[in-house]
């Protein structure tokens, strides 16, 4: 036999909860109109830091070494002052897992991660970010 108290009391309690929720402020973010507040330490798209109008990167190969997804390609070059610099610096965003190990590994603070998270694109090749595109992100 069904116990009426055990059957109806939980339903009434549930009704109270849903009714109380009716007057709460909705948590929905109206995304394209409203922008989310990105946290300061959010790990989004990478950016190469600049110093004296040049990328700080010295092509030490620590970031492609530490990268667990193997998405960073670096090729070293030598400039007029016989300084080492990154002639090629590419990050494949389709493989990147946004772990931030490259930022941690960098000895000269040449790479950081921005709050940029809208990385959608139309073709696969557009996801490979070259040195120029990474420098553009200030």
């Amino acid at each position: 036999m069904i116990n009426p108290i055990k059957t109806f009391v939980p339903i009434i309690q549930g009704l109270q909860i849903t009714f109380a929720h009716l007057f709460k402020k909705p948590v929905t973010l109206q995304y394209p109109d409203e922008r989310p507040k990105v946290a300061a330490r959010f790990r989004g798209l990478h950016a190469l830091n600049v110093s004296h109008d040049k990328a700080k990167c010295v092509a030490c190969y620590l970031c492609p070494t530490v990268c667990p997804a193997k998405c960073i390609t670096v090729e070293a070059g030598e400039d007029a002052n016989h300084d080492k610099f990154a002639a090629v610096y590419e990050i494949d965003m389709l493989r990147c897992i946004f772990c931030g190990y490259c930022v941690e590994a960098c000895p000269v603070d040449a790479i950081r991660m921005t709050g940029e998270f809208e990385l959608a694109n139309y073709s696969r090749k557009d996801f490979v970010y070259s040195k120029e595109r990474l420098l553009e992100k200030k």
Partner: protein
Amino acid sequence: MDIVILGLPMMYYIAMVAKVLVAFVFVLLTVAYATYAERKIIGHMQVRLGPMRTGWHGLLQPIADGVKLFFKEEIVPAQASTFAFLIAPLIALIPAFITFAVIPFGGVIEVAGYKIPLQIASYVDVASGKVFDLNVGVLYILAMSSLGVYGIVLAGWASNSKYSLLGGLRASAQMISYELAAGLAIVAVFMLSGTLSMNEIVRLQSGFGGFDWYAFKQPLAFIMFFICSIAEINRTPFDLPEAETELVSGFCTEYSSMKYAMFFMAEYANMITVCAITTTLFLGGWNGPLATTIPLLGPVYFVAKVYFLIFFCMWLRATVPRYRYDQLMHIGWKVFIPLGLLNIVVTGIWNFIIQ
């Protein structure tokens, strides 16, 4: 206005057409905006917003949905029984709408010297001044609600799909078992009223300034009838015929376009009808303070009560999860039917003592 057709004045026919149009448009609009209200209310109960992007706060959403469904492709499955497949949504939709014919939504109003009772299937006899309506109104409602099952069963059978068939089977079993309990709950009301005419039942509840409701005299019957009605129209928490988790979409799995929209409309029209019947039988119909002196207040009270019950249905949907099938049958056969019989016996003894 002296033209007489079949012994009735011209005004009778004009009033009849007007009443049918008003009631039909009212139900259609309520169906459209009940879908919107449901999405909004359940959204806010889940601390979401609900539709927001079509029109101001999503107010044009039902129209957008309707246009979208209208332009969708009509698909009839290759092995389906075409005629039954096409006719099933109509069979589901029509009984949901025509039940409104016997529901009184107001008192008697006077237009150009002619008295019009606000109930579709009724008229005021000029000679005696009495209101005549369908004297077996409740039986008519019970008959129509049973007809609605055929649409769902036919849809399930004609689709030639296992999901649809199981949905149709579940729907028929569920609706038949809960109709018994709902019928037993109404019997207790008849024992108090002594009539099956909806108009009379409403009139008998007009005491105490319009608050002499049968819900207070028969609280058990009221709760039982409302729960059984929700089960009979397959709404959550009793929506097993279209349980997504196991049956995809139940009896309407194979339906698309306007035919699917018709099932959707039938579901919401049924909800409105059931809420209107509950209002009429238990919540005093259009009765309320001053409703007899100001006739136009009647429809206002009626609509307010019906909308409150519709809100309650949505509230319940946001709260209670779906019952398991054996639980559903257990509640129907082992709880509600004995309780209904007991209620009838107690009401009978009580009536006997009072007399």
